[in-house]
Amino acid sequence: MSLLKLENLSVTFGQFRAVDQISYTVNEGEVLGIVGESGSGKSVSSLSLMGLIDYPGKVSADELSFMEQDLLSMPETQRRKITGSDIAMIFQDPMTSLNPCYTVGYQIIEALKTHQGGTKKELKTRAIELLNLVGIPAPESRLSAYPHQLSGGMSQRVMIAIAIGCNPKLLIADEPTTALDVTIQAQIIDLLIDLQKQKQMGLVLITHDLALVAEVAHRVIVMYAGQIVESGPASEVFSTPKHPYTQALLASLPESAAGKARLEALPGVVPGQYDRPKGCLLSPRCPYATDHCRNVVPDNQGPLERQVKCHTPLDTMGRPAA
């Protein structure tokens, strides 16, 4: 059974479409990777799942359901019962994501109390268990620590403890390691994947790190300018990319440039609010773009489990179809 189902979800800020009609599903126990450049709508789409898009942002979708419950039509109070318990999220910068005025213990217990309740003592025991689970040494004493007394890696562990506190069925991790030291990154990812396996959670992992996605994700979604340009099983997407954008992303990895003098890079930047191309959004930057690409918006092609939004998807040799 699919845990989360999105059908043509859009998030608009005034005229600007930050997320443009994306559809995907996440199954129980599945790791879904979402990759793309900055500004491609990865974070905004995940915030909309949590109901954290504020005015003037507007979320619309043909379907946005979690365990067959429609998230968009349910009343606020009911949605808040799901947010933070069944769906939880961790964020990019752990150092600013914890409230500096309250202790670690207070912030963990607050989430537990809201969704599960219990006596003060039970809650405290549970918080210590959680800190233990995320690998924080001496958890009893850490409960009374303030966020500014923790390192970045520690803070992210605390964030994870808060997120998994109510045993979520779906965990969204929005670039959980970007703000951390390289040495800490691997530890945090290992922890996340361990917990995901232990608790059989669905995990949406948003990242720029293609290598990481290739390693841990079952399926992957590539986003560009608010749209999903390619999706499919991680191994397939990375071995035989069908969209020129995915190809360019992979080419920009240092590993694929072995033996070459320069790294491949896609010229230009993601289109913003005022410079949206008429046809395919990638057309100004795409090496294979034709006049057709520049004038006509491409549709999704291929079966649901392996889609690509391109007029001329690449073949297995990495060349555009005729």
């Binding site: 230009g268 289109p271 410079d275 949206r276 191309p277 057309s283 100004p284 520049r294």
Partner: protein, 296 residues
């Protein structure tokens, strides 16, 4: 066809950029327009004002405004207890308030910049001494300090202006010092120092232009405090002395007419409020337009 979407917009000059943001702020533009009108009134007070501010119309004491019963269109906002035209006195008062504001702001701005630059540039003992003095001045409410100064020097417009400029000094010193210290750590200052620029050149050519934006904002807001403090001193009898048409001192006598003649009380104060509000609106607008942090 695709190139047009990638074309970069023509870069604006800093002044155009500033105006672009400033004119988007309706309050700030309203403030600016009002200030321009008051400036016009002040400059051409002799022509604009229907009467002399000291003319006493013996036959028209405490006349109500023109639109009320018993009003006279010759005295649009009515007359005070000795028959002087309130409108004319307000117009002439604008001249006084604006010039006191100008003198006070200019004086404290110049001295403040100098002290701030020296403190920020020299650091060490000089800095400590200057900042201690500034702290002491900040510990006193500005009006109280101004009152103390005027009480000692004797009540007059000049002493009031002097007191107001002394009182507003700390803000400029602090601003300039902070900006100087921030700029001093920048590489471009280090590089000019390495080239061998003299301390004076460093202070005034390299550093000062980079602290101008906050100083402009502070100076605009300084105008509003100067006008407000001037009026308060005038009201307490410590500023302009009667018969001088000053907004604050016009209100000083009004206390006894509160029961009989509301117009004597209302209009001068309204003028103070509107002028101060205009400067504050403009100051806010300037801050938003000049603060690069808030741009996009």
């Amino acid at each position: 066809m695709t190139t047009e979407t990638l074309q970069a917009p023509v870069p604006r000059t800093p002044l155009q950029e500033f105006w672009h943001y400033f004119k988007g702020n309706k309050g700030a533009v309203t403030g600016l327009v009002f200030i321009l009108i008051v400036c016009f009134m002040a400059l051409f007070a002799d022509i604009v004002a229907p009467h002399s501010p000291s003319d006493q119309a013996r036959d028209a004491l405490l006349l109500p405004p023109a639109w009320m019963d018993g009003g006279n269109w010759a005295y649009f906002l009515g007359t005070d207890d000795v028959g002087r035209d309130i409108l004319s006195r307000i117009i002439h008062g604008a001249r006084l308030s604006l010039s006191v504001g100008l003198v006070a702001v200019t004086a404290s701005l110049m001295i403040g910049i100098l002290m701030g630059l020296v403190a920020g540039y020299c650091k060490g003992v000089v800095d400590t001494i200057i900042m201690r003095v500034v702290d002491i001045m900040l510990a006193m409410p500005s009006l109280l300090l101004a009152i103390a100064i005027v009480a000692i020097l004797g009540p007059s417009i000049v002493n009031a202006a002097l007191a107001i400029s002394i009182v507003s000094l700390p803000h400029y010193v602090r601003l300039t010092r902070a900006a100087t210290m921030a700029e001093m750590s920048r590489d471009y200052v280090t590089s000019s120092r390495v080239i061998g620029a003299s301390p004076l050149r460093l202070m005034f050519v390299c550093i000062l232009p980079n602290c101008v934006a906050p100083l402009i904002v502070q100076a605009t807001l300084g105008f509003s405090t100067a006008i407000l403090d001037m009026a308060a001193l005038g009201f307490l009898g410590l500023g302009a002395q009667p018969p001088t048409p000053e907004w604050g001192s016009m209100l000083a006598d009004a206390l006894q007419f509160v029961q009989r003649a509301w117009w004597v009380v209302t209009f001068p104060g309204l003028m103070i409020l509107l002028t101060v509000l205009a400067f504050n609106l403009m100051g806010d607008g300037l801050r938003d337009a000049l603060d690069p942090k808030l741009k996009q």
